[in-house]
Amino acid sequence: MLPKLGLEYLRLLTFFALRGYCKSRVKSLRASKLICGLGCSRIGRDTVNPREDQVVAKKKSRSQRAKAKARQAAANPLVRGQQAFHQGDYDVAIAAWEQALGEKPSAQVTAALAEVHFRRGLTRFHRDGQRPAGLSDLAKAAKLVAGEPRYAYHLGLTHHYQGNLDAALAAYRLALEADPSFVRAAELAVLALLEQGQNLVQTAAWHALPPDRQAELRLLVGLLGGRPPAGQAGSPTDGRARLWRALAAFQSGDEGVREALLSIAQDGDEPAAARALAAYALGLDALRRERQEEALSQWEAAQRLGLNTPSLRGNLCELCWARAEAAMAAGQWIDAASLVDAARSLAPSGRDLAELALAAHWHAGYAEAQAGRWPQALTHWEKTRDLGENSRELLQNLALAYENGGRFGEAADLWRQVVRRQPRKADAPTRQQVAMLWGHVAECYRRAGDVEEAVTTLRNAVKNDPDNTDLRLELADALVADDRWDAADNELGRILKKEPENVGALVRLARIAEMGCYTRAKPIWCKVLALDPHYLEARERLAELLEREGDLLARTGKSGEALERYHEALTYMPEEPYLYLACADCYLGQGDTETARQEMERAFAQQPDDLDVYHSAVDLCHVRDRSEEGEWVIARAETLAGPRQPQGRLPAGFYLDLAECCFKRRQAEIGDDYVQRAERAAEGDADGLVTVGVYYLDRDQESQATAFFDQALRVDPAHGWANYHVGLSYAVAAEMREANRHWRQARRAARQTGDQELLEAVESIRGQFQRMITMLERGASFEDAVEVFDDEAW
């Protein structure tokens, strides 16, 4: 199906094939008019429509007239300002009218300028958060038209908003002078006076208020003075009057007002500050009835609604504190810790409260740790430490908690402090125990990756318990981990001086010796085996050292001595097939085919299923140019291993691997023969056929590869990798529909068999083709489009 292709050739083919594919796609897009947005500039216009030209000419004329008009307007600042003003562009309006005023003073323009400053001031102050700029605009408006009460009022309002009550009052007074019936100004002037604690009654502002507002404000004055006011004011539906009346009744001790306060506190339409005040009053009411839980809940609600007065904070603090003490007395440490934290957040100062917090967190941490909740315990103990507790007991618990959380560096630092602060008198730990603790510190440092500190602390451990061999061995390990080989060697030497037969020390010494000179390691490993004949590592290392010696001898033609080493190695590892093969190789070199075959038979007997053993055996025969022996090995492999393979015979891959080795040794004829055997072995086996196909693909023999993938599909139409490769061949031929069909099948197979590699390969190749097609459709050059292909993937 495919011509011979390398990557570049494949790209070229893909270009021509996909160009055809994209053309057809573009045609259909054009038909559905979607092309307009994609490629009009490339397609161009072929014909001119006269009707269309008339419409264009009319549009042009309209546009020219509008432009002329705009030019005229731009020349007149009054018009320009007006246009900007109506569009809400106050900056431009101010600039234009200031220009107009400069050219010709006019009361009308001054008033207009004041209004625009007023509007910009309000916008800036209330909406844009530009408070100083807003205030400056409002001041400018009030200055431009001094008799306008609105400007003075809003100037006062912004001062009031910022807490500048004197300036606010001055502005309100100006507003009232300009308009004595301006109730809003009078009301806020009275409020500002109240905030200043001044007497209201003789003021002009007070007299400007209607009687019902005066009555209502009298209630407010009474509340602020703490005197229950007499009488009622305002209509019952007025939220403000409702609040003042309810609070006045509450201050008078009227228990029946609870419902009214509750309805205000829960009324979402009321201002938050009013609801908060009602909730605060409800909290006080609950406290009077000795219902602390309810009081807490109401005050917390008041706090959430924004009330943040010292009395609320103080009351909440007292309540939490009292409840924390009660919880501690009941042994409810975790609750107590949370309550005392709440109390401290409201009133952080105070030694008594800090001491209570320390005790609560200390105990809460202990309770959490005993229940196995280490992260919570750690949080409590860290707070305990922050509150000033620094006892050895706390440090030890903290170290345990850090260790439990995998924070070994912090744990090690704390353990270190714990060891240094052990009690010195009757309860003092023994030197052995201190050494054990230092060992533990070192273990934590080691786990934290700080080998240097581990070495330092292990030296402390050894100093405290010099006869502790285990600690010395740990020190040697730490030194090795820190690449301090000589120091480790010395430490092990000290152990062996006292205990010459310490296997642990000998093993470590042998490992270190192997790093430098393996011949030095050999007698040490022998000693280990003499002390413990079953020590597997010693057997393996000795066998390997001897094998290495044998290999060196064999390479220099001393096959007799090499054989001696291999046979000695086999005394340590008699189950190692490659040692037998090494012997067989020597015998083949000596021309002793019979003995070589016997050694190979021994190797096969060790691992009869392992194809790598047969492969190595065949290989060594070919290296020695003994093809007939290679054939003998293959015959043995077919007899011994073939029936045990999943297909009941040697797989194609086995022959292909042999072929590859032969090609590398330039034994092309033998290699070709193995390839043919692989093809025969693959017959009727989809996996084998795909293996052969991939073999050809790797060698750029696309047509052979595709033939095998097609064959694989005929054997197993649902085969994942076969579908993947066949799909790819269709994609390269621009038959995307077919390609996608095979890739979908490959994806299904991958999901069924859990073959993640196949799944990723399918997604990747589909994505790459899709991106390339999209780029070509958008007019990208082929060179750019083909860059989407990942060379590795090909």
Partner: protein, 116 residues
Amino acid sequence: MTKPGDPYAVLGLKRGSSHDEIRRAYFRQVREHPPETDPEGFKTLRAAYEQLRNAEQRAETDLYLLLAPPPWEPPRQRRLVHFEQSLPRQGILAAARAFTDLARGDFRDDYQAVRL
């Protein structure tokens, strides 16, 4: 290595318990949590017992145990709890402000037309 958790607590013992007390507590607990019906519980018991069964192991275990905080005692002199009973002036004024223009942000009603 540290063995977090308290084997004494697992066996229901105090820290200074004797070897015999430890053994008795272990067998009593095993009767309550036999391996056939409560394998996890038994595993925990066994692990705790292993940490305490011989003197050397127990000495090591004791080194890495959680340490209890000093007992807490309520203050001898009862603290005088004081609550502020009056309504906060600051809160009342905040509520009063909330009913006025000070709580508003949109004053477009106050705009007036411009005539040139």
